[in-house]
């Protein structure tokens, strides 16, 4: 674990440092490019703080081990990229159903399939939201710098523990593999999961308005029934419609009632902006450059950068489209977030898209050109 202060770090290394500072003491993973440096650093650093690093036989086993460790009381994480992320989906669904706090890092690479294994993309953002079968709400964060790899990994753990839910850190091969200066703070704020106060506990139901039940751990005498099948608040398997509705509605609502708290956006030059660029992660970097360039040329452009991708900050985006002439969504996929923006804009403003695939960033010039066209 690095000392507080300034360091020159790889994005993936900053992610591992953030995790350890957040209290992560269990990591299970499987080798995959471009996420490997997270495993490397966890393997080296976790034992030194009393934590466990496991290299599992595949990504399915990695997320499974993470969930098992979480129920044994660990703050736990795994990291992977596209193909591994696909393999993890079933057990991510299990984590939703069993309300298991954990952090899943997807250092996105260009797909589908093996695709461009070493090159970045933002193609998996729908998979983060809809990857597993069934209904649930997901929390997904998107860092744009090495500093944010540290900050948002820390936040991912805090959100996971607070809401008892898997949290996705949706980064990419570019942010994971750039080296930048970061500042590690003296103190960080960490969140601990709510443990049962007394001897009795309903681990899958609560009267608390936050809708997040207390979470006991194995070995503490609560005789837990944890199951991916539909269950009563006690954990007993039960397929009656009422219990299923109660469960699925609550695990969605516990996220949605906290949307203001979990939403995290950074606004640049937005006050009088006529062309609003919406972007996130790596593609927000040239977007920022393009907005600055446009301003220099007298074009009223601004940047709305999402650090929380899911749940989608509908209200904030809705307010935005009321004031903008054009919303330009910049992303490294075929235009996925643009669809979400279109849905919220509902025809109130023009929504355009800079959608770049091929494993390369959209350039400042490309984005600037689009801003000019719509100004």
């Amino acid at each position: 674990m690095l000392r507080p202060g300034r360091h020159l770090l790889l994005g993936n290394e900053a992610c591992a440092e953030g995790a350890i500072r957040a209290g992560c003491r269990f990591f299970a993973g499987y080798p995959i490019t471009p996420a490997n440096e997270i495993s490397h650093r966890m393997a080296a650093e976790l034992p030194r703080v009393g934590g466990y690093f496991l290299q599992m036989e595949d990504e399915i086993a990695s997320i499974a081990a993470v969930i098992g460790a979480s129920w044994a009381g660990a703050k736990a994480m795994t990291a992977t990229s596209g193909p591994g992320y696909s393999l993890m989906q079933e057990n991510i669904g299990y984590a939703h159903m069993t309300e298991t706090p954990c952090v899943v890092v997807n250092v996105q690479r260009s797909g589908p399939s093996t695709g461009q294994a070493t090159l970045p993309s933002q193609q998996d953002i729908y998979q983060a939201k809809y990857g597993a079968h069934g209904d649930y709400e997901v929390l997904a964060l998107s860092p744009w710098s090495v500093q944010e790899m540290f900050d948002l990994t820390l936040r991912a753990f805090n959100l996971a523990e607070k809401f008892r839910t898997p949290v996705m850190l949706m980064t990419d091969g570019l942010i994971g593999h750039i080296k930048e200066k970061i500042v590690i703070p003296e103190e960080v704020e960490t969140t601990e999961r709510r443990k049962p106060a007394g001897e009795a506990c309903t681990p899958f139901g609560t009267d608390d308005p936050c809708l997040v039940p207390e979470m006991p751990r194995f070995g503490d005498g609560y005789k837990l029934l944890v199951t991916g099948s539909a269950h009563r608040p006690t954990g007993v398997r039960d397929y009656t419609p009422m219990y299923h509705q109660m469960k699925v509605n609550r695990i969605r609502e516990k996220i949605m009632i906290a949307i203001d708290e979990v939403s995290d956006v950074v606004k640049t030059e937005l006050d009088d902006a006529e062309v609003v660029v919406i972007s996130f992660g790596a593609s927000a970097r040239p977007s920022y450059g393009a907005v600055k360039k446009a301003r220099k040329d007298g074009i009223k452009a601004g940047l709305f950068r999402l650090r929380t991708l899911w749940p989608f900050p509908e209200k904030l985006v809705s307010d935005l489209v009321d004031d903008a002439k054009t919303v330009l969504v910049v992303e490294m996929n075929v235009g996925k977030l643009a669809k979400e923006v279109e849905r919220v804009a509902c025809g109130r403003s023009k929504v355009a898209s800079v959608a770049k695939i091929g494993g390369v960033l959209p350039t400042v010039e490309e984005i600037y050109g689009s801003i000019r066209r719509f100004a």
């Binding site: 599992m56 005789k223 199951t227």
Partner: protein, 344 residues
Amino acid sequence: MMPAKPLSYYRDKYIRNQPSAFCVGCGNGTILNCFTRAVDDLEIPPEKILCVSGIGCSAWIPSPNFNGDTLHTTHGRALAFATGAKAFNSDLTTVVFTGDGDGAGIGGNHLIHAARRNIDITTILVNNLSYAMTGGQIAPTTHRGERTVTSPYGNPENPFDMTRLAAAAGATYVARWTTWHVLELTRSIKEALQHPGFAFIEVLSQCPIQQRRMFGMQDPIHRLPNRILEMFEESTYIRKRPEPMGYRYAVPKEFPDKAFEKINEALRRYEASTRIVDHMELGRVVKIEAEEDEDVWGALANLEAVERISGPLEGKIELGLFVKEERPEFTDTLRRIIRDSGGR
């Protein structure tokens, strides 16, 4: 010797008050019974036991029945979930219940790797030779030629021998029993729970619902559990235990009853006892027990109704303890790494 405890003792102490979800005559109840007796004999507090299971009938043995911590996971992945829990808290006595579909099919990869790591988990693989919960499809353990809903013309595949697979993968305790062998199974579970490493027990178990078709048994369903259990006894032998050899099986050409009649006629002059038995490999056959070996078998040599005479051990499944050895245990090693790196 300790006085026998009533069933209600085990039920009240180890079983949640749930109606059983198992079909009548299922082997799961027997296995749960053996498990609770093993736990009780060893005086392990149930709240220190974590039972992890996957998907399928076997998964319901602990969940929701066992009155300790249970983690009922996704199909085939129980061992991977258990690995995480056990690694983080090695004080948990961790037991995985899996089936042949769950543990040999979809979860086969996790099984061999858990064995390779020698992590201190007891794995009980309930082998009912099929995917029973989903309707009796072929499993990786189904014998070649068996007819199931997905092999209506006979299974074209060859089965895994799960016990030999676990041993080859590095499990340091390996045993195989059947639901007929309840005392041996209970003793084996006790040994496995005490064994500091990956312990694997395969339990051949009856499924009257799905095995009925597989074994071509025409009886009413309530007669099947006993018939299958007796077949398990007939079709197995215990390694390193002397097996009586004064018997053979006559495989009938067509009808066992007809063969039985003809054999009895042919053996009228000899001291031999005959009866029709079920045999997993040979089918419904006539078992002939006789002292004067060669003459008896000679008298059967050219019988029209008999296809062939089979030796006592032909096609039988070997039971017993296969492996018991010590190797460094995985979570011990993880803790040593932490100590050596100054972590604790």
